[in-house]
Amino acid sequence: MASVRVAVRVRPLSQREKDLSAKVIIHVNGHKTSVLNTKETGEPFGERGKSFSYDFSYDSMNSTSPNFVTQEKIFKDLGTDVLQAAFEGYNACVFAYGQTGSGKSYTMMGNAGDYGLIPRICEGLFHHISGVLQRDKASFHMEVSYFEIYNERVRDLLPSTETQGCELRVREHPKDGAYVEALSKHHVQSYTEVGQLMHEGNRRRATASTGMNHVSSRSHAIFTIRFIKAMFDAELPCETVSKVHLVDLAGSERADATQATGIRLKEGANINRSLVTLGIVISTLADLSIGGGIKRKQNFVPYRDSALTWLLKDSLGGNSKTIMIATISPADVNYSETLNTLRYASRAKNILNKPTVNEDSNVKIIRELQAEIARLKALLSAGNQSPSSQMVSFEQPLGSSVEERLHQDEARVQELTKQWASRWKEIHNILREDTVALRKEGIGVVLDSQMPYLICIDEDLLSTGVVLYHLKEGKTSAGTGGTEPEQDIVLHGEALQREHCVFENQRGAVTLVPLPGARCAINGVEVTQPYLLTQGVNIQLGKATMFHFNHPQEAAQLREKRKSGLFVSSDSTAFSVDTFSHFRKNRVSATALRDRLTRSPV
């Protein structure tokens, strides 16, 4: 139930505005808030008013008007939802946003005797507690914390001795959600206590006076109420925890700099260094280009207002209710600010909304079902002409008709052919080197190479190709590499050294030279001294890296010998019968190769 509601509230003209004989340029009608542009625009009959639609538009300009929206009304519309969420164990979040002096504090806190949203929500919580206590024998625990985010730094506003003056970190826990590490929590039992803590925190909050404004909030302040309800539900203890965040966003004149237009400057950054905001522009570009139509691409935009992002994460990624209240002044002198606030508020929903899920296409299922529907319809129209034969088709476990099965067989044949053809091409590509030739012989594929080589028996999940390493005349080094010069054969695997071993090819005689400490085995027998390799041996380097050694010329000689009866199969190590025996004849049939490929461990 992640939901967002946006409300806009207009305050009355201030004394200062009246002194300036400011005109009212805001008009509220139903859900709409309109603002009139009284400045010269150059085109007198052009678009002079702008209208925005929100979940709620509150007119609090004139307390004597029948349309005047009271604190009570706002609490009824928005506050009760928050309470409801808290009781049900959800999270709730109230954001307040608006230019300094636009009535944010009045709406959120209010005055004595004319309380705002926060006191009313707190009161509601305590009121509910006392009600439920009597009824359900539940127990409650309520604790509050208060912190601010100022220039991306988190400070505890109700610090304990440990957190005094410290910068705190925002983290996430899989079970407990987002939290501020080491933030102090204060147990409260009445609204008076809450009020005191809030007051104490407010005094610590970073505020600044400028030539224009007396007090201008330069930080986001987050007041959190953690509400824990423990009770027995059918003899079983159960506990619900909910969080209510009350967020006072930095004055919109500030937030504007980084969010609305992105063109103004970051605090403290002067014009000549203003390229610091380049990232904002680029990231909006990256963001914008996926907006609009259906989101087809997903990208990652590293630049974010991290603190705010975090706030949104917690309140929108979970089971939560979020309310945003934007406050504005009705006066023409504040036109630009007001327009900015209204725009921000109207975009808030979009900013906060994320796609729920990215689903796969249903095309396949749709096809299947269409086929099934057609079959069932055919059955229906065939009536009971030959019930027995129809019965059979239902008994087919996979629900497919014989005809369909035949059809599938046909498709299967095609599929197999297609696969075979493209596999063959793939192998062909891998082996296409001048020293290796690939011929078709019957249905098999023959690999002809004159040079001795190693075939890698790869453990990699994704390896589908066959890797050949030629052992050229001279030395061929092997190891995990990173050496200077680089190893000829770079390997990855357990118990391999950076420089593991060397293969020396001297006029066709290949010797394996293990380097000190390197684990090498020939046909399962460990070797530490140089070892002359013979056709067909299996070489193990380290724990799991396996090669099959082929020596085409030697093999050819052996074949000759065998023909002439000179060769007796005494050298069993060279021709050991093992899992790689299909390589023995130095021939790789396509099907055998395919078997190997498909069986290679994943």
């Binding site: 983290r171 996430e172 826990h173 899989p174 959600g177 505020t207 600044a208 030539g211 237009t261 992105g262 063109i263 403290g268 002067n270 014009i271 000549n272 203003s274 390229l275 610091v276 380049l278 990232g279 522009v281 680029i282 570009l285 914008l288 280009s289 691409k297 997903q298 990208n299 990652f300 935009v301 590293p302 929108l316 990624g317 089971n319 994320k354 729920t356 990215n358 689903e359 796969d360 249903n362 095309v363 299922i365 096809r367 299947e368 079902l369 529907i373 229906l380 019965m391 476990p397 996979l398 629900g399 599938q408 299967r412 493209s422 596999r423 793939e426 999940l461 994704l462 589908t464 994943v602």
Partner: protein, 630 residues
């Protein structure tokens, strides 16, 4: 005034220096509750200088007050039109005018920085009008550009983008014109109030002038963005980055992150070559930010800890941009290669391969030279990093695998920093990308067993996370994971079925496996659907807008899965089909009660309606078989 060496002039220079120092250095130490103290002091000094200069001027009777000029506030003249200029820019009088203009400029900026925009605007307009009285020369060209830069930002801040555009485009063309016709290092704003001989060096002048122009481009980028000319905005962002590198005016990490972000923009435009170049540059430039302090060093000092944290985080973020690059490259290729049921279309594959062979690489090269981040010391490393991964859409498994592996490498790198403990959301997003990488790679794999194993890997990485996560705080993520797991099991079930189909008679083991996959898929769809329920366990009568389609699709798929379960026992067959029927009916009924839902599940609804009427037939058949058997 003509006597620059007079004591009076020295005093003016000193005052100016002080104002500059207050504004640029002292102001940073101003207390939070009085942030503009030094700026206000600087303003007073500037005013004093202006007064004394102005007095001299009036005595000499050279200049009237620019602010009284009748020309409109926002109309700006074309550059290069010297017709009717009162002074030559390089004449002594012209220089005096320029000095006044410089003061107006600084006063303007000072007011803007202290949030007094209108006053600032007036000063800047006065400045602009003063310069407009002079021909453009190396004495005033920098001021010409910078005044317009400031006015550009000012108007953009007021959301009057066209006004801003006017100022900035004139600044841009003035720069180009000046570089074409003169090109000598122009006088910088700092050089107007210094004792003779203390002007900045030619090199420094160039640097500052180029920087001013870099700002012009950067502001234009924003203007075009706000005018929704995204293509152009992208170009200007790119040029800004290019120039920052060229003139060595950048903070490595910041630059790297910006370049990495720009890559994401290019990705959305399917310009992978540019995206790759940005990413390679980002990775290389990020290393210029220095060594990552060791864990031990980080424990010792807070500063080292911060530095370590920052470096690790930024590198991990760049890695995440790389992941998206690999992922999108693969997914875009898939889109091109798939047939109408989402399988690899081999005709299409051949066709694309042919097209690729014919593609003239010349065109690519031409495009490439325009976007290069040139800086001799880093260029080679950038290129060699680029070579590690293709920027062409992969057309076959091996190519896809190469890209996959690079992406997987970056997944490992990104996860190192974004650990589950502390970075839940980020960690899971990375896992979701990893899963997506496997998913799209599976598309290229023809062997169904292996494909199935790739999907199994996805299940293995997502399932434990999905179980661990508290839906109260991560509801959205939980739903995404549930849906993805359901779909993955579905996919595996489909593949198993296809494999079993090849066997003449599927064995018991295969059927068991198939049923297991079916029910796993169903289970996760069910979990997703349960997450929509109220705390009392009630399914809402009306779903939230963004849940309508996913929830109904989940129900639709559950219906399908229930009817797919294989059983030899007619009683359980009957039960499965009845459950299936219920689910189809649910979809139909929901759409009857909420007609607005019809549009988002059109096809699914149509099929559900059919199935809801036809399934009873099938059910009755089984019932009658059972009856006759008894």
């Amino acid at each position: 005034m003509a006597d620059n060496q007079s004591a009076e002039w020295t005093a003016v220079c000193e005052k100016f220096r002080l104002a500059h120092e207050l504004s640029e250095i002292e102001s940073k130490k101003d207390p939070e509750n009085n942030p503009f103290r030094s700026k206000y002091k600087a303003r007073d000094l500037l005013k004093e200088i202006h007064c004394s200069l102005k007095k001299d001027f009036e005595e000499e009777g050279e200049v009237d007050n620019g602010a009284d000029s009748e020309s409109s506030h926002t109309v700006d003249g074309e550059p290069g039109n010297d017709f009717g200029k009162a002074y030559a820019g390089d004449s002594p009088a012209g220089l005096r005018v320029a000095r006044l203009a410089v003061l107006q400029y600084h006063l303007g900026v000072n007011h803007i920085e202290t949030e007094e925009l209108s006053a600032g605007e007036e000063h800047l307009m006065t400045c602009m009008k003063l310069i407009d009285k002079c021909t453009t020369t190396r004495e005033n060209v920098s001021l010409f550009i910078q005044a317009r830069n400031q006015l550009g930002i000012l108007w953009a801040g007021r959301d009057e983008i066209e006004n801003a555009q006017g100022f900035l485009e004139i600044a841009e063309s003035m720069y180009l014109l000046y570089m074409k016709e003169d090109g000598q290092p122009p006088l910088d704003l700092q050089d107007f109030f210094v004792p003779e001989g203390e002007e900045s060096s030619q090199q420094e002048k160039t640097r500052r002038f180029e920087m001013a122009y870099t700002h012009t481009l950067y502001y234009l980028a924003q203007v075009y963005k706000n005018l929704q000319q995204f293509e152009r905005a992208g170009q200007y962002c790119h040029s800004t980055l290019q120039r920052q590198l060229e003139y060595k005016q950048f903070v490595p990490l910041e630059w790297a992150i910006n370049a990495a972000t720009l890559s994401q923009y290019y990705i959305t435009k399917t310009r992978y070559m540019e995206a790759r170049h940005c990413l390679a540059a980002a990775s290389v430039i990020a290393t210029l930010a220095g060594e990552i302090p060791s864990e031990a060093a980080a424990k010792e000092s807070e500063a080292e800890f911060e530095k370590r944290e920052e470096l690790l985080q930024k590198r991990a973020e760049i890695a995440r941009c790389w992941i998206k690059y690999c992922l999108n490259l693969l997914q875009d290729a898939k889109k091109l290669l798939e047939d109408n049921v989402g399988e690899l279309d081999s005709d299409r594959q051949e066709e694309l391969k042919r097209a690729r062979r014919n593609e003239e690489e010349e065109k690519e090269k031409g495009r490439k030279s325009a976007i290069l981040f040139g800086s001799s010391d880093t260029f080679d490393s950038i290129c060699s990093l680029e070579e590690k991964v293709s920027s062409m859409l992969p057309l076959e498994f091996e190519e896809a695998r190469g890209i996959f592996l690079v992406g997987q490498g970056y997944v490992a790198q990104a996860k190192e920093y974004f650990e589950m403990d502390g970075h839940v959301t980020d960690h899971i997003e990375i896992l979701q990308d990893h899963s997506a990488l496997f998913k799209v790679l599976a598309f290229f794999e023809e062997d169904m067993e292996r494909r199935c194993k790739m999907h199994k890997r996805r299940v293995d990485m997502l399932e434990p996370i999905c179980k661990d996560l508290n839906a109260q705080y991560y509801l959205l993520i939980c739903r995404q994971l549930q849906f993805e797991l359901a779909e993955t099991y579905y996919e595996m079930m489909d593949l198993k079925l296809a494999v079993a189909d090849k066997q003449d008679q599927p064995d018991v083991h295969t059927i068991k496996k198939f049923n297991l996959l079916c029910s796993s898929s169903t289970r996760y769809y069910q979990m997703f659907l349960d997450s929509v329920r109220s705390p009392e366990g009630k399914f809402p009568e009306k779903l939230e807008d963004d849940l309508v389609r996913p929830a109904l699709v989940a129900k639709f798929r559950v219906a399908r899965l229930q009817s797919k379960l294989i059983s030899s026992n007619p009683a359980s067959q009957l039960e499965n089909l009845s459950l299936s029927l219920e689910s189809y009916k649910f979809v139909v009924q929901y759409c009857e009660e909420n007609p607005e839902a019809k549009n988002v599940v059109e096809t699914e609804l149509e099929l559900s309606v059919e199935m809801a009427t036809l399934l009873p037939l099938k059910i009755n058949r089984i019932k009658s078989t059972m009856a006759s058997a008894n």
